[in-house]
C-alpha cells in the first residue's frame, strides 16, 4: 500500500517535473521579451536608468505661452522660433521642425500655435519603428538615429501631430558637415532617405542652454522646463513649473489620445505681446532657410564694413 502510494507520488511528481520543464522551456524563450513587455506596460518605469536606484535625472518639458505668441505678425517678421531652429540645425530646405499654425479660436478670432515635437511620454512613433531608430531618452527626449533609420516612414504615419519630416532628396549640409561627428543629439550631416524631427535641442539643453526656438523668440513665449526640479525658464524669468501650469490652465494637444505630451500650452492669443482680437488679420510669414539667413547676414556685415 505504502509502496504503491509512493509510486503514485513519484509518478505525479515526474509528471510535474515534465510540466515544470515545459514551463521553464517556454519561460526561457519568453524571458528576453519580458523586460520589454513590462516596460511597455509600465510606461513610465522606463525612466529608471538600469542601475537599480531611481536616478534624479532631468525630465525635460516645454511650456509655450500663447498669451505671448503672436506668430511674429505684429513684428512683421517670420516666426523667429522657426528661423532660430533653421539656423541652429541647418534644417533642410522645405522642412520646418517647429511650425507655427494660425488656429481658429472661440468666437472666430484667431490665435497662433507653435508646434515643436511633443516629446510624448507614450510616443506612437517610437512604438512603431521597426528598427529602434527612433527612441526616447531617459531624459524624455525623442530622438532619431539617422545611421539606423531605414526610411519606411511608419513613424510619420503614426505621429498624431504631424511633427516628422523626411529627407526625400539629398539635403544640403553646411560646409564641413562631412567631418562633423554625428550624434542623434545633433544630427549633422543630414542624410537622404531618413526621417528628421525637432529634438528639443538635446545638444543645447544638456549644456544648460534653452532650445534655439526659445532663445530666438522675441516675446519669450517658449519655456524649457524640468519636471524633476519643477522649474521652467524662457531665458528671462524662472518659474515653478507645476504652479505655472496650474495657475494658467495649461493644456496639451490631443490629450485624449493618451500620448502624454511633454509640451504644455497656456491659452491665449498673443494679448501680452499686443496682438488684439480686433487686430486686422495678418498672415504668418514664411521663414527663411539657413542658407538665406547666412546670405543676408553676410550682406549685412559687408554693408557694415563699407559704412565704416
Amino acid at each position: 500500500m505504502d509502496r504503491q502510494e509512493n509510486y503514485r507520488k513519484w509518478q505525479v511528481s515526474r509528471r510535474r517535473l515534465l510540466k515544470l520543464a515545459g514551463v521553464a522551456g517556454v519561460a526561457a524563450v519568453a524571458a528576453p521579451l519580458l523586460p520589454t513587455l513590462l516596460t511597455k506596460i509600465g510606461g513610465a518605469s522606463a525612466e529608471s536608468d538600469g542601475t537599480g536606484k531611481k536616478a534624479s535625472r532631468r525630465q525635460w518639458a516645454m511650456v509655450i505661452d500663447l498669451r505671448k505668441c503672436e506668430g511674429c505678425v505684429t513684428k512683421d517678421q517670420a516666426p523667429q522660433c522657426i528661423e532660430g531652429c533653421n539656423k541652429e540645425h541647418f534644417v533642410p530646405q522645405g522642412q520646418e521642425w517647429i511650425r507655427v499654425f494660425e488656429m481658429e479660436g472661440a468666437g472666430g478670432h484667431s490665435y497662433f500655435l507653435p508646434r515643436p515635437c511633443m516629446q510624448c511620454e507614450n510616443p506612437p512613433c517610437v512604438k512603431v519603428c521597426p528598427v529602434g531608430a527612433t527612441y526616447r531618452t531617459q531624459e524624455g527626449i525623442v530622438l532619431v538615429n539617422h545611421e539606423r533609420c531605414i526610411g519606411c516612414r511608419m513613424c510619420m504615419a503614426a505621429c498624431p501631430y504631424g511633427v516628422r519630416v523626411f529627407n526625400w532628396d539629398q539635403p544640403e549640409n553646411p560646409p564641413g558637415a562631412t567631418f562633423a561627428s554625428y550624434s542623434p543629439e545633433f544630427p549633422i550631416p543630414h542624410r537622404r532617405g531618413t526621417v528628421e524631427k525637432c529634438m528639443l535641442c538635446a545638444h543645447r539643453v544638456k549644456d544648460g542652454k534653452i532650445p534655439a526656438c526659445a532663445e530666438a523668440c522675441p516675446m519669450y513665449a517658449i519655456y524649457l522646463g524640468d519636471l524633476t526640479e519643477d522649474v521652467a525658464t524662457n531665458g528671462k524669468e524662472v518659474v515653478k513649473l507645476s504652479r505655472f501650469l496650474a495657475d494658467t490652465n495649461a493644456f496639451r494637444l490631443k490629450e485624449e489620445l493618451g500620448t502624454r505630451p511633454r509640451v504644455w500650452y497656456i491659452p491665449g492669443h498673443g494679448q501680452e505681446s499686443g496682438h488684439t482680437v480686433d487686430a486686422e488679420h495678418q498672415p504668418i510669414k514664411t521663414a527663411r532657410s539657413w542658407q538665406e539667413m547666412e546670405a543676408t547676414d553676410k550682406k549685412a556685415s559687408a554693408e557694415d564694413h563699407g559704412g565704416h
Partner: protein, 455 residues
C-alpha cells in the same frame, strides 16, 4: 471519366508545355517590357532617392503601399480557397487548385517586393534583421509575409510532385536536357508508391491546415500597419477582418479572371466548366456581401459620430476631391459585381469584365485607404497633395507585369491543371459508381448544368 478521358486530359494539360504559339512570345515580350520598365524606373529612384516619387511630407505613402495591400489581398483567395475546398473534400476543386495556389505565390512575391521598393534607405534592409523590434507592426509583416510565402510555396510544391513525375516520364527524351533535369529534380523520385502517397497526404494535410491561419494572419497584420495609428480612417478596430474579407473578395475575383484566361488560351473548356464558374461566383458573391457589410459597419459608425478628423475625411471621400474615385470604386467594384449571382452575368465575357471590375475597385479601395487618410491634415495645415510620378506608375505597371510573368512562366513549365488530382478524382468517382454503373457522370463535363434554378 469515360475511356480516353484520362489520356485527353494529359494531352490538353501538357500540350502548352511542349507547344508554344507566337502569341505566347508576344505576351512574354510585353510582360518583359513591363517588368524591364520597372527595373529602369527603380534604378532612377535609386539614384534620385524617393524625391523621384510623388510622395512628400504629408502624403508619405502612395502607390507602393497601395500595391502592397492590393497584392496581399490578391494572394489571399488562392491558397485559402484551395485549402478550404481540400479540407471539406469538395470534389469540384480538383481542376482549379493549382491555378489558385499559383496565384497566391505570385501575388505574394509582389507583396513582398513593394515595401522594399518603398524604403528610403534600401541599403539598410538588413537593419530589419539586425535591430528588428517585435513591437513594430512592420516587423509583424516582415515575419508573417515570408512565412506565408514559404508555406504557400511548399503547399504549391507538394501537390506538384506527382505531376512533375508524370512530366519526367512523359517528356523523357522529348524535352531539352535542362527541362528533364528540372522535372526529375522537382519530382524527387516520385513513383506513386503507397508509402509516397501516404506521406504526400500527411504533408499536404498539415500544410493545408497551416496556410489558412497564416493567410488570415497576413491580412490582419497588413491592416494593422494602418490600424495601429491614430489617424482618421485607419483608427478602426475592425480593420483586420475588414481587410481579410476584402482580400478574399479581391483574390476570388482574380482567380476567376485568371481561370477564364487560361480556359481560353489553353483550351481548358472541358475542365473549367460552367459549374466551376458558378460555384466560384457564388463564393465571390458571398465574400462581396460580407465585404459590403463590413464597409457599411465601418463607414456608418464614423459618419454617424462625425468626429473632427473623420468628418474632414468622409467629406473629401464622398463629396470632395476623392469622390471621383470613391463612387465608381464602390458602385462598379462592390455593387455591380454582385450580379454574378445571376446566371446571365456568368456568361464568360460578362463574368470576366465583372471580376476585372472587382479588382479595379479593390485597387481603388486600397488607394483611398492609404492616400486620403495621410493627406487629411492633422493640424490646421493644407490638405496634402499626391500625384504619382512616372517612376511610381512604371513600377506599379511592372508589379502587375511581374505578377502575370510568374504565372505565365510557371504555366509553361508545369501543367496548370493538377493532372494527378483529376485522375485520382476520376478513380474515386469510378469506384463509387462501380455497383450502379450507368448513373450520371461526375464533375468533369460541361453538360451538367440543368436543374439549378438559382437565379
Amino acid at each position: 471519366m469515360e475511356p480516353g478521358a484520362e489520356q485527353r486530359l494529359e494531352e490538353v494539360a501538357l500540350r502548352p508545355l511542349t507547344h508554344t504559339s507566337r502569341g505566347w512570345y508576344l505576351w512574354l515580350g510585353l510582360l518583359l517590357l513591363l517588368t524591364g520598365g520597372g527595373f529602369w524606373a527603380y534604378s532612377t529612384q535609386l539614384q534620385r532617392g524617393l524625391a523621384a516619387t510623388g510622395m512628400r511630407d504629408t502624403v508619405v505613402w502612395g502607390l507602393y503601399i497601395s500595391n502592397f495591400v492590393f497584392f496581399s489581398g490578391v494572394s489571399m483567395a488562392g491558397t485559402f480557397v484551395s485549402a478550404i475546398l481540400r479540407i471539406t473534400g469538395a470534389e469540384w476543386r480538383r481542376p482549379l487548385t493549382r491555378v489558385a495556389e499559383l496565384t497566391t505565390v505570385s501575388a505574394l512575391l509582389m507583396t513582398a517586393l513593394m515595401p522594399a521598393v518603398d524604403m528610403g534607405r534600401p541599403d539598410r534592409l538588413l537593419n530589419l534583421l539586425k535591430y528588428g523590434r517585435l513591437e513594430s507592426p512592420l516587423i509583424w509583416d516582415i515575419l508573417v509575409i515570408p512565412t506565408y510565402l514559404t508555406a504557400s510555396a511548399i503547399y504549391l510544391y507538394l501537390f506538384l510532385i506527382p505531376d512533375a513525375a508524370v512530366l519526367r516520364d512523359r517528356l523523357k527524351g522529348k524535352a531539352s536536357w535542362l527541362r528533364q533535369r528540372l522535372y526529375s529534380m522537382v519530382a524527387v523520385g516520385w513513383h506513386g508508391r503507397p508509402e509516397q502517397r501516404r506521406r504526400l497526404e500527411i504533408g499536404g494535410g498539415v500544410m493545408m491546415l497551416l496556410v489558412i491561419p497564416i493567410g488570415v494572419a497576413t491580412h490582419s497584420v497588413v491592416s494593422w500597419i494602418f490600424g495601429m495609428t491614430y489617424r482618421a480612417g485607419w483608427n478602426s478596430t475592425i480593420f483586420a477582418p475588414y481587410f481579410a474579407v476584402g482580400a478574399l473578395y479581391s483574390g476570388m475575383a482574380m482567380l476567376i479572371t485568371i481561370m477564364i484566361v487560361f480556359r481560353r488560351v489553353y483550351h481548358l473548356e472541358e475542365y473549367f466548366t460552367e459549374k466551376h464558374f458558378r460555384y466560384l461566383s457564388y463564393m465571390l458573391v458571398a465574400f462581396g456581401v460580407i465585404y459590403l457589410y463590413f464597409s457599411i459597419a465601418e463607414y456608418l459608425t464614423v459618419s454617424y459620430k462625425l468626429e473632427g478628423g473623420e468628418k474632414l475625411l468622409l467629406t473629401e471621400l464622398f463629396f470632395g476631391r476623392y469622390s471621383y474615385l470613391v463612387w465608381p470604386g464602390f458602385l462598379l467594384g462592390q455593387i455591380l459585381p454582385l450580379l454574378v449571382a445571376l446566371r446571365w452575368a456568368r456568361a464568360l465575357p460578362i463574368l470576366f469584365t465583372l471580376t476585372i471590375l472587382v479588382n479595379a475597385g479593390m485597387w481603388i479601395k486600397r488607394y483611398i485607404i492609404v492616400v486620403p487618410t495621410l493627406a487629411n491634415p492633422l493640424m490646421p495645415y493644407e490638405w496634402g497633395v499626391y500625384t504619382p510620378t512616372w517612376v511610381e506608375l512604371a513600377i506599379t505597371a511592372a508589379s502587375f507585369g511581374g505578377f502575370a510573368l510568374i504565372i505565365t512562366l510557371f504555366a509553361k513549365l508545369f501543367p496548370i491543371i493538377s493532372v494527378w488530382e483529376m485522375t485520382e478524382g476520376a478513380e474515386i468517382a469510378a469506384a463509387k459508381e462501380e455497383p450502379g454503373s450507368a448513373a450520371a457522370r461526375p464533375a468533369t463535363l460541361a453538360a451538367q448544368s440543368g436543374g439549378h434554378g438559382n437565379d
